[in-house]
Amino acid sequence: MNSNNKEITVVAFCCLYCAYAAADLAGSMRLQYPANVRIVRTPCTGRLEVEFFLKAFENGADGVLVAGCEEGSCHFKEGNLVAKRRVNYARKYLQESGLEPERLRMVNVSSAMARQLTDHIKDMVETVRKLGPSPLNKAKRQQQQEIKS
């Protein structure tokens, strides 16, 4: 793993019925994914509100990944479709506020798609690494680096 990756944090909201199980499977399969990711188990991505994403950025996330079931396969029928619309709405807010909307992304996986999930996580971490740390965290990170050096 690129050492630069350690400088960023990606919060991944994972649906209990698919992505969270896929992350579990990834562990069983010994699949590696970057340690920058903090997985938050959610009962369904439809439970996620717009403010959850914004609060994640406010509280230090450099990127937010929402991982829900494949479209048409939601355990609660259309929770993932609700989440998709909310993610798009939150991206508008991020853009207006001065953050890159690419820092928030939704992906769809099934509980058997461990490899795809790890690929999505790697891709998200790479995207966020290219964008750099969130401007909300830059001052804090600089302080931490100064203390270390």
Binding site: K55, E96, S97, P135, L136
Partner: protein, 222 residues
């Protein structure tokens, strides 16, 4: 209900620039129902403004509060302490709410975070449509409960313009022709004879053209 829509973050940032402590004040009535200024929207707006402040180094702090009704002094009092602490208030109430807050706190800058749009209803999930133009002289009884003043693009009171296609308005094909709806409705309720009456030119003196309107109920005055 009153239907409103949020202003964009850059617009709001431009409005509140120069203030250090901003209170985002929501309203629990109409704007909550139209998803523009209730508790949830206040939380989202406050979060987005905090992100904007930190991302763009604007240096303002944001607090949030939602009261039951911004257009009523009894409820405004519940926000008095929070408003006093803030440098400025960003109201997510309708235009009436913003002005009620500003009148109560004479020395506090109060800004509108929403664009108040119209008086309407929730047509379907996520869609609100205008139903009443508040003309002050309701004519709904003559038109089967469908308002030609609001819903006909040309505000015609004596029949359709002749430009509609199928049942669509020629001004906007996405909109139903109000006169088609009026005819169907009057037919359904057996009152087509109402259309034989010629409506005289409407008295617009009861509308906003004469300045803000006041209603006084002597039996309720103290």
């Amino acid at each position: 209900m009153i239907v409103a829509e949020r202003k964009t973050i850059p617009e709001i940032v431009d409005i509140i620039k120069g203030h250090k402590n901003i209170l985002v004040l929501g309203c629990g009535t109409c704007v909550t129902v139209c998803l523009a200024g209730g508790e949830r929207e206040v939380s989202i707006m406050a979060s987005a403004l905090r992100i904007a402040s930190r991302a763009q180094n604007l240096g303002f702090k944001v607090s949030e509060l939602t009261i039951e009704r911004q257009c009523d002094n009894i409820f405004i009092e519940q926000a008095a302490e929070a408003i006093e602490k803030a440098d400025a208030v960003l109201s997510l109430g309708c235009g009436a709410g913003v002005q009620a807050i500003a009148e109560r706190f004479a020395k506090k800058p109060v800004y509108a975070g929403l664009n108040t749009k119209f008086l309407g209803i929730l047509e379907e999930r996520g869609t609100w449509t205008e139903k009443c133009a508040q003309c002050g002289d309701c004519v709904l009884a003559d038109y089967g409960g469908i308002c030609p003043v609001t819903r006909c693009a040309k505000h015609l009171l004596n029949g359709p313009c002749g430009g509609s296609r199928e049942d669509r308005c020629e001004v906007n094909p996405n909109r139903a022709c109000a006169w088609q709806l009026i005819y169907k409705r009057l037919k359904d309720i057996g009152q087509l004879d109402r259309l034989e009456k010629i409506s005289m030119p409407k008295q617009w003196g009861t509308s906003l053209s004469g300045g803000p309107r006041v209603i006084i109920r002597e039996d309720h005055r103290i």
